[in-house]
């Protein structure tokens, strides 16, 4: 059987060997915890606690700021120290709730005490919404919104994104190996919402042990399938993944649901299982701490709000001074100024590299080699788009389908002239999106 995949893409050094055999270890936070009110796509959460108030672990500290939003829970018991702007991974100052840990870890009552079998669809979705579950692959789109498409009867495929195509990341891999039952359970819960749908666990073929394990565990399940995908970045990009699994191509104007699909990350599905079965809100996150600057690369189970600097300590500190520190993977992650920023719901890794490959190269003129065209999964002409973006030519940008870019970064990666193609295109997209938004509100 040929492997499922898409056209384009790249094969960067994957660096997963450093941490893939390290079991997930639980760590406890040492310092204060910082919870940004905006850890998801959509409206920021609204604080429901006051300075000086005592909170329990698993207690809601900020409620959803709208339908497309998610509540935030305290991951420790302690006292609210302040609600003030702090720097987050994106480098922005974002309002945050700061909590002093009393190290008692006194647990709040579960958010759900009903058995799954007795719950209605609406109740299941309500619990997922209440648990503050968002897309944990990186985008942070509230999961309850994904689970309530306009035409739910049209959904025929629920894909669990187990690709983990970003180099260095092994948190999803470890989860699949260590908690496969929860993963399958979470998927079954999702499938109960869409009776016509089948579930697909889509895994890159560089994780044969996961494929084998999950195949074995799902052999008896009639509506759950395991698909092996070709190992290639960005195989885990939503559009590319849907195409690889179903052959359906969606563009920027469509949602996965328009083509009958719902896509969720491994961690998200496990969080759904935890919320329904155990009544746990989203307060944990598996983070891979790795990179050639880290002494003992590891996979850590971290309470959200913990500062990255504590993670570095847990991983034995720095072996050598890092030149670049990235929250997330090297293709889509955020470079951070320092490690005094908190782990959020969407943090998947902390990557510390002794060399910054970007600074090493001076961008040169485009030689028109066409490699960016070859690797672009959206089948665009990145070199031309970047040029057009640098001139703010909106017409030209639209003509060359610039809005279809998925910002995967393959073009910048492959460019022999080391041009910042993705950066130019991304900035232009941002401007265009903002314009479209302000035009829409004017009307």
């Amino acid at each position: 059987m040929s492997l499922f995949t898409f056209q384009g893409g790249i094969h960067p050094f994957d660096g997963k060997a450093m941490s893939k055999d390290k079991p997930i270890t639980d760590i406890l936070p040492k310092g204060n915890l910082v919870y940004p009110l905006s850890q998801h796509i959509g409206a920021p959460a609204k604080p429901v606690v006051q300075k000086g108030q005592r909170v329990l672990a698993g207690e809601m500290i900020a409620e959803a700021g709208g339908f497309v939003s998610a509540p935030i829970y305290s991951s420790v018991s302690g006292t609210v120290l302040a609600i003030e702007p702090r720097r987050t991974v994106t480098g922005d100052q974002v309002p945050c709730i700061i909590i002093e840990n009393d190290e008692a870890y006194e647990q709040a009552p579960p958010i759900n005490d009903k058995a799954f079998e007795e719950m209605s669809k609406e109740e299941v979705i309500a619990v997922i919404q209440k648990a503050g579950i968002v897309g944990m692959g990186g985008a942070g789109f509230p999961t309850h919104v994904k689970l309530q498409p306009k035409e739910p009867e049209k959904i025929d495929t629920i894909i669990v994104n187990c690709a983990e195509c970003e180099p260095y990341l092994t948190s999803d891999y470890r989860k699949m190996l260590e908690e496969p039952e929860k993963l399958i359970r979470g998927l079954e819960i999702e499938l109960s919402l869409f009776p016509k749908a089948k579930g697909v666990l889509a895994i890159e073929d560089n994780k044969p042990d996961c494929i084998e394990l999950l195949r074995k565990l799902t052999r008896e399940k009639e509506n759950i399938f395991v698909h092996a995908l070709k190992t290639k970045y960005p195989q885990g990009s939503e559009r590319q993944l849907i195409y690889a699994v179903t052959g359906r191509a969606i563009n920027s104007k469509m949602l996965p649901a328009d083509k009958g699909c719902v896509v969720n990350n491994v961690d998200t599905v496990i969080a759904i299982c935890n919320a329904i079965e155990e009544g746990l809100p989203l307060i944990y996150r598996i983070v891979t701490v790795t990179g050639d600057a880290i002494k003992n690369p590891r996979n850590l189970k971290v309470r959200t709000g913990t500062l990255y600097s504590e993670l570095v300590e847990e991983a034995g500190g720095f072996r050598r001074n890092p030149e670049k520190i990235i929250s997330g993977g090297p293709m889509m992650g955020f470079a951070v100024f320092d490690t005094d920023v908190p782990v959020t719901k969407t943090s998947s890794a902390l990557l510390c590299m002794t060399k910054d490959e970007v600074a090493q190269w001076e961008p040169g003129p485009c030689i028109n080699c066409g490699r960016c065209v070859e690797v672009c999964p959206s089948r665009l002409i990145p070199s031309h788009l970047a040029e057009i973006s640098n001139h703010f030519d909106e017409e030209g940008f639209k003509k060359l389908n610039g809005m279809e870019c998925v910002e995967c970064g393959c073009c910048s990666y492959i460019c022999p002239a080391k041009r910042q193609l993705a950066q130019s295109i991304k900035s232009m997209r941002k401007v265009m999106l903002a314009k479209a938004k302000s035009n829409a509100t004017k009307k």
Partner: protein, 310 residues
């Protein structure tokens, strides 16, 4: 932990390949043809190659100095242009002609239009055409083995006999780098194997030219004539090294196929219906001019707008 770390936009990793490395591979791929040229035409050929490369580098350096630009000679593209220009010159040209050619290639065709990647025409070929028009006598003096004759392609055009084996081997009259099909194809294989080019342009060019010859040369299915046309003149050098020039060919595969067919048809027209036996240089530089138009009609259909796979 000390100090603030470097930040940048995504992605944070880069492939190992670079412009200079690509240029190095092109130079490597040109070596078989260059070495054969030296073997075939003697040390004078080496001298021309050296003059051409050195003057190309000097002109580029001077241009950068005078226009106060960042020095660009280390990307290796000037060496490639110099080498390619030498390959396109007959061995008997005087040294100053080589220098003029280098000046035209680097300063006029390349640097004045913005330097590396911005030129609308292949510098070496643009320069060759300029020299052929300006110094027709010097540029068509193909004396070989004390026998001052025409190139095999000209012989063929005049109804004479040619030895196809010699044309494939390269022991024939012609410009320094164009005579040996074997040496050029070895270079072409190096380019393909090291990922510098693919076969879209080269194959469509050669195939469409062959088809044109079969259809319009009036020789019917004459394999002797066809193979002499394929092996003769600058076709092989052009198809592997000049038509594939990144800056002057379309960037999309679809565009490259259109471009290759245009090249084949134009070369066929020039060679069969034109007054000269040769037509590759003009076919390529004229097709270069069509590239912006080809790009316009070959914008790929983006992901998600092309319907379903199955």
């Amino acid at each position: 932990m000390s100090g603030i770390k470097k930040v940048s936009s995504t992605p944070h990793i880069r492939a190992k390949d670079s412009t200079a490395k690509i240029m190095l591979r092109v130079i490597l791929a040109l070596l078989p043809a260059a070495l054969f040229g030296i073997y075939n035409f003697g040390l004078k050929a080496l001298l021309i190659i050296v003059i051409s490369i050195v003057s190309c580098i000097i002109f580029e350096w001077l241009f950068c100095c005078i226009t106060k630009q960042k020095n660009s000679i280390f990307d290796g593209s000037a060496i490639v242009t110099g080498l390619l220009l030498a390959m396109n010159l007959p061995v008997l040209v005087p040294w100053w002609l080589v220098v003029i050619g280098s000046f035209f290639a680097i300063v006029v065709v390349k640097m004045l239009f913005g330097g590396l990647g911005q030129n609308f025409m292949n510098p070496a070929l643009g320069s060759r055409c300029f020299l052929v028009i300006s110094f027709p006598k010097l540029m068509t003096d193909f004396a070989y083995d004390t026998f001052s004759g025409a190139t095999p392609l000209a012989e063929l055009k005049n109804g004479g006999e040619v030895i196809v084996q010699n044309m494939i081997l390269g022991t024939e009259a012609g410009t320094i780098g164009e005579t040996s099909v074997i040496a050029i194809v070895i270079g072409g294989i190096i380019l393909i194997a090291t990922g510098v080019i693919d076969l879209y342009v080269t194959a469509t060019y050669l195939l469409s030219f062959a088809a044109f010859v079969l259809l319009f040369a009036g020789k019917g299915l004459n394999l002797y004539y066809l193979s002499a046309q394929m092996a003769g003149g600058g076709l092989m050098l052009g198809a592997f090294f000049m038509a594939t020039d990144y800056a002057t060919r379309p960037i999309t595969k679809k565009g490259q196929v259109i471009y290759g067919i245009l090249l084949g048809v134009l070369t066929g027209i020039f060679r069969i219906f034109g007054p000269s036996a040769e037509g590759v240089s003009y076919a390529i530089i004229i097709s270069n001019l069509f590239v912006p138009l080809i790009e316009k009609i070959s914008i790929p259909k983006c992901f998600g707008k092309g319907g379903e796979r199955r």
